[in-house]
Symmetry: C2
């Protein structure tokens, strides 16, 4: 079995609970305190017949460069990428497109927030930006297991295909005229494009967008982190939907 490493208590618990990953084994630091979450990991592993071993903390450090493993790692099967055609045909729902986002912490945080906001798919280009790695899994707090991860060779092709399938394409672009709260997210399937940390969204994608929106600031310090920008827009999109639910109920 091809293996990947995930680390951190929440990431391991989520992978155990969602059950869509195959476990090789779980390594727990001998010096980790026996807290509620570690107990939960042991319990779930026992239920599912998954091997867990107690090892020296240094052993875990070998797998996790920055040492932030919280006393637990797991060797598991990699995330299964979903094909865009399959997603559109069999799953559906709103998606977020990351156009070359390079920082694993940002990708992980966006996936986590996207799941909280009911987004069903994340589209990543196969040759730019980061794909799913251990840091993305950790930062997502296990959210990678609750959303379709769609890897495509061409983002332009993917956006065209989404448009053919009645998606509205929204680009987050700080040169836009409209504000993020000026559009009505409630009555459409949307694909929200977030650009790379420094370069923003590529021109060929911007051209395809049905809406361009910006987040207006109160100061000249005009520079939001991409995951925070995504959070602001995604929670605006469900705020509107929640309002409509309140009115019609």
């Amino acid at each position: 079995m091809e293996n990947t490493v995930i680390y951190g208590k929440n990431a391991v618990i989520e992978a155990l609970e969602t059950g869509n990953r195959e476990f090789n084994k779980i390594l727990i630091s001998q010096t980790s305190r026996a807290d509620v979450k570690i107990e939960k990991i042991k319990e779930l592993a026992k239920e599912q017949g998954i091997i867990f071993q107690f090892v020296a903390a240094q052993k875990l450090n070998q797998f996790v460069p920055d040492g932030k493993h919280q006393g637990v790692i797991a060797q598991i099967s990699p995330v299964k990428y979903v094909a865009l055609d399959d997603f559109i045909e069999h799953i559906g729902g709103n998606v977020v497109i990351l156009d070359g986002v390079e920082d694993s912490h940002n990708v992980g945080a966006i996936i986590r927030t996207a799941v909280c906001a009911g987004i069903k798919g994340i589209i990543l280009p196969s040759r730019r930006g980061v794909l799913i790695n251990s840091t993305v899994e950790k930062t997502s707090a296990g959210a990678v297991n609750h959303i379709s991860i769609i890897k495509v060779n061409s983002l332009t092709g993917a956006v065209q295909k989404l448009k053919e399938n009645n998606y509205w394409v929204i680009a987050s672009d700080h040169h836009a005229k409209d504000n993020y709260y000026d559009i009505d997210y409630s009555d459409m399937n949307f694909a929200l494009i977030m650009g790379a940390e420094h370069a923003g969204i590529s021109k060929s994608l911007l051209k395809l967008a049905d809406f361009k929106i910006k987040i207006p600031m109160l100061t000249n310090f005009n520079s939001l982190n991409v995951s925070n920008a995504a959070a602001i827009i995604l929670f605006e999109s469900i705020r509107e939907r929640k309002k409509i639910t309140e009115v019609t109920e």
Copy 2:
């Protein structure tokens, strides 16, 4: 002069431009490409009579554990912390209180977003969570130079003092009944408390809150990153203010 290290192009440019930090010297990697931002750093350094040296990239790695220095570091005076009394008397404005937030990336991202949303002060406890370090400075993209950083021995004492000075205290708490968009942020000075990643807000602070708010989710995956949660609330607070401005103008 006591020194701290900041790294990353934006962090160094912001520190040079705001001019509230004393520079010892700037080190630039010999192998860094001569891009617009590196040129800007050299130009600003020349104007201000600050030494810059070209060194081997390995030399920079010594200062920056994760290697994400983007080819430039600067040795500069540490951030000057502001006393809460001075802030209230001479500066004023809305503040964010971080109750033991432990991840430097989160603290940096919150400071960056807070500055974009017009927040004037960040309050940190001196003995829990992180204070301003190189990673916070980098993740904030230099925003630490655009806001008062207030370090206090007791958060409870700080909150009491803010209340005595007519601040309204808002706690972000996922057990709250009210939603973050149910309160009117426009007509008050507020202090928004964000809790630690795992433990949330301590009970003694929750008791002092005038408002408790939650961010409603669309799914059961009920777990936002603290910096994303802060972004959602802070941009709601200025969205409301912007609306009122539009109406009265």
